[in-house]
């Protein structure tokens, strides 16, 4: 992505300089935001009423053991120094060990994040594939039934608690109708048929040709993915509608029609191409939101992802895990936002 910026500006020295400045700005924004994220998690970790020493040694440990662990953890150092150590550790991915699983937090995150990614990606795909055509239809047939439908869909998406809709989905499609499999990623009987490589079950099973396991995984993921997909769809279709309305009112659309282009071509080739630029930002944002929405969804569907990891750790006062997970999701969020911003600048010549 970054090299693309340079390539495009490569021909002219001034363009190159301006894109270099953009990159420098981008890096500075990224670094300060990440520093801020680390500061917030560090601060939260310090105000927490749980004594981290007692969490490790237990409340019956003798005083000298307590003191030794306290020094090992660096809790006797001044705040600023503690923060510096925290930063250095966080930069190398060392968030300490999880009290609950006893693994390093980073290992736990590496194990759980692919599951979250799988779910959020599928959800976004559903949202994009259904949401964009719906939004376009709503804009083209403004005021029609489909327009009202998209409006209601969007309003409901902003108002329904995701955890409740998930439970109702389980009740109807799993318990009553039996169309989909229940909570979890895959049935235990299938889970030994493949070796986790990427930790993305759909990919792993498909690559190893275990189609029975693959279809079982599909029947597990389909409901939570549709749930996340719905919230993504509600957002994407609404934004698509408003971008398309904006474009369809432009003069170039009239010009294209006057030239005698078919309506399909006017809408899909001309208007949509211009609406696509802000849409990419929206899709990236919705993807970032799904990472967040996955916290509640994963809890309901017993989906072993990062969201469930954070909530489990939270309920067990496992602060290293909570803060490590928070920092990772926050970083992913920041990166997605910045990437969408960068893409926007790349794709829209007007912003140069």
């Amino acid at each position: 992505m970054v090299s693309a910026v340079v390539n495009q500006g490569g021909g002219h020295a001034s363009a190159l300089r301006s894109s270099l400045r953009n990159i420098a700005q981008f890096v500075i924004v990224l670094l300060t935001t990440l520093l801020g994220l680390a500061a917030v998690t560090f601060f939260i970790g310090r105000v927490v009423p749980i004594d981290p020493v007692i969490a490790i040694v237990g409340d019956r440990a003798p005083a000298q053991v307590y003191e030794r662990v306290r020094q090992e953890l660096g809790l006797d150092l001044p705040m600023a120094q503690q923060f510096w150590i925290y930063l250095k550790k966080a930069a190398t991915g060392d968030f300490g060990n999880s009290v609950l699983t006893t693994n390093p937090v980073l290992t736990d995150i590496a194990n759980t994040f692919p599951a979250t990614l799988e779910l959020a990606t599928l959800g976004t795909l559903i949202g994009v594939i259904l949401g964009i055509p719906l939004g376009i239809l709503a804009a083209v047939k403004r005021g029609s039934f489909i327009d009202q439908f998209v409006r209601v869909l969007g309003l409901a998406g902003y108002s329904i608690p995701i955890f409740w809709l998930g439970l109702m989905g389980l009740l109807v499609f799993y318990a009553k109708l039996g169309w989909v499999a229940g909570p979890g990623r895959i049935d235990v009987t299938y889970s030994y048929l493949y070796t986790p490589v990427t930790n993305i079950v759909l990919l792993d099973t498909a690559m190893q040709g275990q189609w029975d396991a693959f279809w079982d995984a599909v029947s597990h993921i389909i409901l939570p993915a549709c749930l996340l997909g719905y919230f993504s769809l509600a957002y994407i279709s609404r934004m698509t509608r408003s971008f398309m309305l904006n474009e369809l009112a432009q003069e170039y659309v009239i010009a294209a029609r006057v030239k005698g282009l078919s309506e399909m071509r006017v809408i899909w080739r001309h208007a949509l191409r211009n609406a696509a630029v802000p849409l990419i930002t929206v899709i990236a944002l919705s993807y970032a939101n799904l990472l967040e929405g996955s916290v509640l969804t994963e809890t309901i569907f017993a989906w072993p992802g990062l969201g469930q990891y954070i909530t489990n750790s939270l309920q067990n006062a496992d602060m290293n895990a909570v803060l490590g997970g928070t920092l990772v999701i926050g970083t992913a969020f920041v990166l997605l936002n910045l990437v969408s911003d960068l893409l926007y600048r790349l794709l829209d010549p007007r912003t140069r």
Binding site: G36, L37, I44, I160, L167, M168, V295, L296
Partner: protein, 312 residues
């Protein structure tokens, strides 16, 4: 000035009734007139009126919860015979695992919801307003520092930041409110700053400055009031999000603690009985849905009236 009718003589008689209110102040009268005009355009939007109705209903139910609820929200009935009953004439929405009437609990839960929404708005709005106006008015390094801080808070996904704060502060409704407020103010600060940037170069600010008004006076007395209307719209639109976040925290067991009838926590209880006693989880969820829908509709309607540029 006093009592002079506004130059709106062609308006219908209903308008006069507003203007002839017992308040003799002309400023007050003008405000009423404006309010009336706003109301007229607001009430043309039926969905917005429905939203207002839902929100008013929520407030009324919260006020008269003791009168409306037929049973106690906290102490249940007979655990042997009245546990997990389906909706019936005696228990309109059924009973939960503690043999408590779900309808009564939802009615009392409206107080909890309203309490959360109002407190979050009361904490987060002034913070956002102050940060935004100070940042926009002073500019320079103050602006840079404040806005970068705001961006950092915006960079966190809201629910996750709230989760982390609740983890630090300990579960409970007060801490949930603080956590949600901490995660809510950044967008308000952004809006207030954008408005301030437009206001700060106007002639009347220059005039006030020439009269010798101090910076705090200009910000508090002249900039803040002008930022309020767009902020109110944003806060109203946000209330649904606040309710959903609070319910999410409650659902995870980090918000209101039992036996408080918080809707999210009630859904969490119902989760254990989902397959055979679906109403325990379904009913409080519907309450959350209806109330956040109400705030969304109201917010949309308010935006159309107060901020016509943003409406599309």
């Amino acid at each position: 000035m006093t009592g002079a009718p506004l130059p709106l003589a062609s308006e219908p008689a209903g308008m006069r009734a507003w203007l002839l209110s017992p308040e003799p102040h002309s400023r007050w009268q003008a405000r009423l007139g404006r309010f009336y005009l706003g109301w007229r355009s607001f009430s043309r939007n039926p969905l917005a009126v429905v939203g207002l109705g839902i929100v008013l209903l929520l407030i009324l139910v919260a006020i008269f919860a003791d009168v409306i609820a037929p049973y106690s929200p906290v102490t249940g009935g007979d655990l042997r015979t009245e546990r997990l009953l389906p909706p019936s004439e005696t228990f309109w929405l059924g009973t939960d695992d503690q043999a408590r009437d779900i309808f009564s609990r939802i009615v009392h839960g409206s107080r909890v919801t309203l309490f959360i929404v109002v407190l979050v708005a009361l904490i987060a709005t002034p913070i956002g307003l102050l940060v935004g106006t100070v940042s926009g008015y002073l500019g320079g390094w103050v602006d840079t520092v404040l806005m970068r801080t705001t961006d950092i808070f915006l960079a966190f996904p809201r629910l996750i930041l709230a989760l982390a704060f609740v983890a630090a502060l300990g579960p409970g409704i007060e801490n949930a409110i603080i956590a949600i407020a901490i995660t809510s103010w950044p967008p308000y600060a952004r809006i207030a700053r954008a408005e301030t940037l437009m206001i700060r170069n106007s002639d009347f600010i220059a005039a006030v400055k020439l009269q010798g008004a101090s910076t705090p006076r200009i910000i508090l007395g002249h900039v803040v009031p002008l930022c309020l209307s767009s902020l109110i719209v944003r806060v109203t639109l946000d209330m649904a999000g606040i309710i959903l976040t609070a319910a999410g925290l409650g659902f995870l067991g980090l918000g209101a603690q039992p036996p408080m009838p918080e809707w999210g926590a009630m859904v969490a209880t119902g989760r254990n009985y989902l397959i055979d006693q679906w109403w325990v989880a379904a009913m409080p969820g519907i309450a959350i849905f209806v109330v956040s829908l109400g705030f969304n509709l109201l917010g949309d309607g308010l935006r159309d009236v107060l901020d016509p540029k943003a409406a599309k």
